[in-house]
Amino acid sequence: MTEFIQLVLAGTANGCIYGLLALALVLIYRSTHIINFGQGEMAMFSTYICWSFLNAGMGYWVAVPLTLILAFAAGIAVQRILIRPVQNAPELTIVIVTLGLYLFFNSLALWIYSGVPKPFPLPTGIRQASWQVGDIFIIPYHLFIFAVLITLMAVLYVLFQRTKLGLGLRAAAAQPASSRLVGINVNWMLALGWGIAAAAGALAGILSAPVVQLEPNFMATILIFSFASATLGGFDSPPGAVVGGIAIGNIVALGGRYIEFIGTQLDIVLALVVIVAVLLIRPAGLFGRQVVQRV
């Protein structure tokens, strides 16, 4: 039992990170109907930028917000420069362009930072040692991740549901043509969506870097788990993405332990099973709206 709880705690912490990246995927999918295969690598590159800041002697609490702002700007730039020209192109073209993003950031990171893993510190103020409650060890950093996620969700909720900008963002995503007619600058709204997504992704990268090692491929696995999370939660539901992420985190943690065949090597297979199963049984995911496919 103790072990089970321990696994759930760890799984939930990882799941929060998957949920964050899934949130980024979903924000982009909702507004532009693109699955951004480059999302993980953009996050990875942002994490390296953050590492560079830290390495240059900047404090954690300065470096991280600065990175997020840069990631936000970069997300906007990517949308405006690379994605917008192909926005209405066939799906294959868009998939290819996002794969191009994947390759580009991956190889750029390898080029600049080499493949040698970099140590990434815990946030200042968060202690390494764990608390013991009964038989259970609680790692402060896990709680920190959880708190960050909850805070971010609250901020996004207020932004999307309670502000005029949020109304515009949602409208532009749902009905671009009508939005244009009421004077919403749809192109900018979509770009802002990409910016927010890029910042959320960067946060996922920064949060996971202390746990797994920072190297150019470290987001690849996390991306697959996030795909699974977004698929499970529904590609058009931001809360679904987070719930899906936590679910996937737990499935992976528990499955790896209790299903002998899976072990630690095949945990990615679990994620893939989830993806395929969800797509077959309930393509819109748990929280997505079932929409009859228009052809």
Partner: protein, 429 residues
């Protein structure tokens, strides 16, 4: 020159850029571009490729102009010319040993691998280009080919020739079956699902150590006997691969031209309409997956034979992505594009790796994105369009007639805008 005047620069603004890039390439040496730190190294390959492309395009225009009196005689002339073209391509590959040394960076082995890439890409062209099904998982079928060879060799001492028959059968059957879940997925979802396939290969191969040899892989050095040319294995494997590739290409071209190809295109362009016309959508899609899988399986087995070594890390998801990238750069809705795509995937990384070991992927990524903006139908499509443009541009002053094809695509794009507006869920809800 009429062609220069009637050229649609607004749509093809990049074409003059290619010419400029070509000039940069020519002048690179005297201008000491290499001296520019970091960037200088990169300008070379880019300009070189652009120069190559513009030379080929200009050549296309010149040929179209020069052959005008012949071509104007009628469709037979065009057809005859096409066969001459095929003949030239086949001859180029048939006499490879004579001049392979003279081609920079080339060797018989590299050419062999390039041809294997072409086989995979032809499959992708059928599946994705004509069938509209995005697959990021062709690497998995390639791996199945490799492991059919390796496991057969390890477990039963199976002669490698057999794997050339068994691998496409297994990979084809698997592709056909994978086609079933794929029926439910559309567009990016299908890309996602097939990517999953590509990602599983390496961990699975590592997991089933007792068959696959785990991380160490299966080493077959010097243990694969050949009936003749024992002293020149590279040559033997080259011709084996080339012959099989010819077979694959002929098969693909026939499929494309026949009933199967028409049905696939109908499905790609409008699935509902196609099924309303009585096309068995499910069967055709599954068959397309099966064929593409079989081609990749065959290529994978051949690859294992040539490299004489099979290990899990050869089959990373990046391999699948590279296949698709090759297909797209060559021109995904063409058969001939596979030749360009295969050569590109083999030689561009090879040439650029000297800059930095991650330069090949970075350069590919940039080329990929540029190609998507400038030549949506890949290099082969670009050359076809140039040809058509040269032919009609010579006859007409206004870009009207030459532009018909382009106008059509624009209208389609406008319609797609409407379709894409709300397309939730991977399948019908």
């Amino acid at each position: 020159m009429d062609f220069v005047r009637s050229f649609d620069y607004r749509r093809n603004w990049f074409f003059p850029l290619f010419v400029v890039a070509g000039l940069v390439w020519l002048l690179a040496e005297p201008a000491k571009l290499d001296a520019i730190p970091a960037v200088g190294d990169l300008i070379g390959p880019f300009a070189g490729m652009a120069a190559l492309l513009s030379i080929v395009a200009i050549g296309t225009v010149i040929v179209a102009t020069a052959l005008r009196p012949v071509l104007d005689r009628g469709p037979q002339a065009e057809r005859a010319l096409r066969w001459v073209g095929y003949g030239l391509i086949i001859a180029f590959f048939a006499f490879m040993p004579l001049y392979v040394e003279a081609i920079p960076h080339a060797s018989m082995l590299k050419m062999t691998v390039a041809i294997q890439f072409m086989m995979v890409i032809v499959g992708i062209n059928l599946l994705t280009g004509f069938g509209g099904q995005i697959s990021l998982g062709q690497g998995a079928f390639f791996a199945i080919g490799g492991y059919t060879l390796a496991i057969g060799f390890r477990e039963w001492d199976m002669p490698w020739g057999w794997s050339l028959i068994i691998a496409p059968l297994i990979a084809g059957a698997l592709g056909f079956l994978i086609g079933i879940p794929a029926l439910r997925f559309k567009g990016p979802y299908l890309a996602l699902a097939t990517l999953s396939l590509a990602v599983t290969v390496t961990p699975l191969a590592k997991k089933f150590e007792e068959f696959t040899g785990g991380v160490q892989g299966v080493v077959m050095f010097g243990k694969l006997g050949v009936p003749f040319w024992q002293d020149n294995l590279d040559r033997f494997f080259y011709y084996t691969t080339a012959l099989l590739a010819l077979l694959v290409f002929v098969l693909a071209a026939n499929l494309r031209r026949g009933r199967f190809g028409r049905a696939l295109i109908a499905i790609r362009d409008n699935e509902t309409a196609a099924s309303a016309m009585g096309v068995n959508v499910a069967l055709y899609k599954m068959t397309a997956f099966g064929i593409a899988g079989a081609f990749a399986g065959l290529a994978g087995a051949l690859n294992g034979v040539v490299i004489q070594f099979v290990s899990p890390d050869q089959y990373s998801p990046l391999l699948s992505i590279r296949f698709l990238v090759g297909a797209v750069i060559g021109g995904v809705a063409t058969i001939n594009g596979a030749i360009i795509g295969g050569l590109f995937q083999q030689f561009v990384p090879d040439v650029t790796v000297s800059i930095n070991k991650s330069a090949p992927d970075a350069i590919q990524a940039i080329i990929l994105i540029v190609v998507m903006y400038t030549m949506r139908h890949g290099v082969a499509g670009f050359l076809q369009e140039t040809w058509r443009y040269a032919r009609s541009g010579l006859r007409l002053r206004k870009p009207g007639a030459g532009g018909t094809a382009i106008v059509e695509t624009v209208v389609v794009v406008e319609q797609e805008e409407v379709v894409v507006v709300r397309q939730d869920g991977g399948g019908s809800g």
